[in-house]
């Protein structure tokens, strides 16, 4: 178990009488890519939000790197080394690509954000690291382009880049290919394969092709509960999973 | 003991009036997610319209019926020219623009009807009081409570029991779905807006005989309407009723022991409720 970077133990989340997650258990091994799949309404997003900190679980534990984190605020988690992306692109639309990444980098040193007595032009404040990231994402030319003028694919890639600026040891990706054209998906798969060298990834995905191609481990949720777990191959042969996806048209 | 009883009854009476002030606001917000700061201005216009009709025809009843119709026609124009563009923007921008509308209406009424307040007398039929022992209550206020109750029941039936209401409620949650069903969502919204604003007009016309008519009555009503609706939960129909009753009762009781503080109490109650119930008592998350 020492190789588990993230452990979720008996995680339950209820809204009123409705149980969005019931006793979910999950182990993400260090250095792996772990997928969470399930039909619509299975509780994937709720689980994701509990991990990222935008909602608090009703009960259960989340252990990251040996530390209980379920009570921590969303803004504390990037600093611990958990980065997240959003299913629907969520950037700062009027700011440039460079400024978006710079802000994400600046956030790593919380005190810096309160510096009000001089401009951003001085060293530090993430300018250089943001340029590096742009280069890595292949978006050098778009450095000074406002986000709203970027293509959808470029925005999706930048979305992942934002999460990477905190140099996370765990990257949470919420449907990274959502809304992407079929042609762009291989580019995302490449990016993910590159990333596994530097961090552990947990992703929620609808696109089964992506999951089978890149994931080491897959957890399947249905109606808020874990119904199956294993390698992509094992899972795809599980009868329960097949029934769950029946009519969903994989 | 009888004092408390009186304060409760008076508070309930007031609460019904406040419900009437707030209900149009909450319906517009609930259906269209639109914050209308010009609500009070339409209320004042309703009172003026009633005054004008009454001075021409001599009949309060004609005023009461025609005032909301006039205000509705005006709302139709404003919706077409302006409000239609604002459904998708931030609340703060809706607020600023409708404040602009409010100012234009207020200054317009001053321009047309001058700065001297007008008054409308209670119609003979409803003049006088009813007395139960020591407790007296003007007939006209009972009439307002009755009319408000009728309007409330009518609205409830319309929204809950008819196909039209069903479509409106669906439209507020999933406009695209409704559009797919082949229903003209623009038309639906514009009808909702007209209806909500006309309700403000009804409130203004009904209250005119009690409070007189002046250009600044709208600002006062705006404050109360928002407090009522925020307490009950923006967009909630029954919330407006509960909010109205709470404000009416708080006002009635506070005026008994701390008259200068009635407004302090009303706003404090509102702030406390928002702190503990982020979306008001019955608001949706």
């Amino acid at each position: 178990m020492s190789s588990s970077l993230l452990s979720v133990i008996n995680l339950t989340k209820k809204y009123g009488d409705f149980y969005a997650n019931t006793d979910v258990n999950l182990n993400v091994k260090e250095g792996s890519i772990h997928g969470v799949i399930g039909p619509n309404g299975a509780g994937k997003t709720t689980l994701f939000n509990s991990l990222a900190g935008s909602t608090k679980p009703s009960s259960g534990k989340i252990i990251f790197d040996g530390q209980n984190i379920e009570h921590l605020e969303q803004y504390d988690r990037p600093i611990l080394g958990i980065g997240r992306s959003f299913q629907v692109t969520s950037l700062f639309p009027d700011l440039t690509a460079l400024e978006n990444l710079r802000l994400a980098s600046q956030a790593q040193e919380p005190a810096r954000g309160f510096v009000f007595w001089h401009g951003i032009t001085r060293k530090g404040f993430g300018q250089r690291r943001a340029l590096h990231m742009l280069h890595r994402l292949g978006l050098d030319k778009q450095a000074q382009t406002p986000i709203k003028a970027l293509s959808h694919g470029q925005q999706r890639i930048l979305e992942v880049g934002m999460a990477l600026m905190s140099e996370p040891s765990l990257l949470l990706l919420d449907e990274p290919t959502s809304g992407m054209g079929v042609d762009d998906i291989p580019q995302m798969i490449n990016l993910l394969k590159q990333l596994r060298e530097e961090c552990t990834i947990l992703l929620i995905e609808h696109n089964i092709r992506l999951v089978t191609e890149v994931c080491d481990q897959v957890t399947v949720l249905q109606a808020g509960k874990v119904i199956s777990e294993g390698t992509p191959l094992e899972v795809s042969q599980d009868e329960k999973v097949k029934t769950a996806y029946l009519g969903e048209g994989i | 003991m009888s004092l408390y009883l009186f304060q409760i009854l008076n508070g309930v009476g007031l609460g019904m009036i406040y419900f009437l002030m707030g209900v149009g606001l909450t319906i517009i917000f609930g259906m269209m997610n639109f914050v209308n700061f010009a609500h009070g201005a339409f209320y004042a216009l309703g009172a003026y319209a009633c005054y004008v009709v009454m001075s021409i025809t001599g009949s309060f009843w004609a005023g009461l019926v025609l005032a909301p119709i006039c205000i509705g026609i005006l709302a139709l124009g404003i919706e077409k020219v302006l409000v239609r563009r604002l459904y998708a923007v931030d609340h703060s921008i809706q607020i600023l623009i409708t404040i602009g509308v409010m100012m234009m209406i207020r200054e317009g009424t001053l321009l047309i009807w001058g700065t001297v307040p007008k008054s409308i007398r209670v119609p003979e039929l409803l003049a006088g009081i009813v007395a139960f022992d020591d407790f007296v209550y003007p007939v006209y206020r009972l009439f307002i409570v009755g009319v408000t109750a009728l309007i409330g029941i009518g609205l409830w039936l319309l929204l809950e029991k008819t196909r039209f209401g069903m479509v409106i409620r669906a439209g507020s949650e999933r406009p695209h779905m409704v559009a797919l069903l082949g229903i003209n969502i623009d038309k639906l919204f514009s009808m909702t807006f007209i209806g909500g604003v006309a309700l403000a007009g009804v409130a203004g016309a009904l209250i005119a005989p009690i409070r007189g008519v002046d250009a600044f009555m709208g600002v006062e009503a705006l404050g109360i309407a928002f407090v009522v609706v925020v307490i009950g939960g923006m967009g909630s129909f029954s919330g407006a009723l509960i909010g109205g009753l709470i404000v009416g009762l708080v006002q009635s009781f506070t005026s008994g022991f701390w008259p200068a503080g009635t407004n302090v109490m009303i706003y404090s109650v509102m702030a406390l409720i928002i702190m503990f119930r982020p979306n008001g008592l019955l608001g949706r998350a």
Partner: protein, 394 residues
Amino acid sequence: MIKLKKAIILASSMFLSLTSYAQAKDVTIYGVSSESGAFANFGKQGSKGLKLAVDAADDAAGMKFNYSIIDSESNAGKAARKVKAAISKSDARYFIGSTLSSTALAVGKEVDKAGGIYINGSGADEITGTQCNKAMFRWSAPTYGAVNASLIPVLDLHPEIKRVYTITPDYVFGEAMLNNAKIILKKRGIELVGNSYHSLKEKEFSGYLSQAMATKADLLLVLNFGSLATNTLLQADSFGMKDKMQILLVWSSGLDHFRTLTPKVAEGIYFGSQYWHEDESPANKAFVALSREKLKETPNYPMAHYYQMTKLLIDSMNATKSADPDAIRKHLEGLEYDGLTGREFINAENHQVEKYFYLLQGKKASEMKDPDNYANIISKAKYFLPANETGCKM
């Protein structure tokens, strides 16, 4: 060339008027009135009165009178700023009027610093009391005079009144009104059976009115003013209270209140008033005639008192043949003259103009002789505290 000459003459005359107003032939009187904002109806009428007085002024002493209106925007801060600017920029020294007492007090301070003269008609006791100063004169009767001149005659007319209920705005002015009333009631051994305080933004008087009815009072004494009073009376009427008790509104706005309330509501109710256009005094008859001729309207209180205050200033300039504030102040102090309400007298110690205050009673619509004949004058009287009891130290 001609233009240039004109400009030089104009500039030099302006320079003269700025530097030595004592010898100047042009005198500008500044009217502070709320032309816009919540009290625009008051300010507009006030300005009309001022203009009327300036236009009708004689030039006995060879002076030419001008006016300039300062719009207070119904805001004391704005008024203070604009008066400050007028003093420093145009060397203004003569100011007339205000709507709100807070405006009067603030403007009074400014004019005092500049050594000018300021006549206003606002209600707060402090104006000729604790906050009095040598620049400031006040034409209207403060709370003491208003309550005495209206309540006493009502009690005399109705000896059956044994129980009184009061409705009072919860702040300094209301408190002063109530105290004055309490003293009178106590002296006569009449019981004050209850009082309701209300806030200044109150619109809802039903609770207070039913308490008044529950106490079986014989007189409802309304101590608020303006739209508060309008709402109180409208609601009292709808409660049918006129049939059960007498009603007296001490601080009415006179004609404006009657117009707003309509005779149906006002009928039978007593109104205290600073001014009524049907007073038989010669000065008033002349003024009403002037107003009807020039403006085609019957003067109301704001118009009348701005007119009277302006006329008082102009008359003293003519009498002293000077535009020196000190000379005018000396002339005004202790002056007795024919005013709109009859013989009026200016107390030298606190600069209060001691004028008459009216008690009116609303008439039936069918008995009105003309569209503005809303009321009968029941009585008029002067009641003023001796200056040493007002707290004024100049």
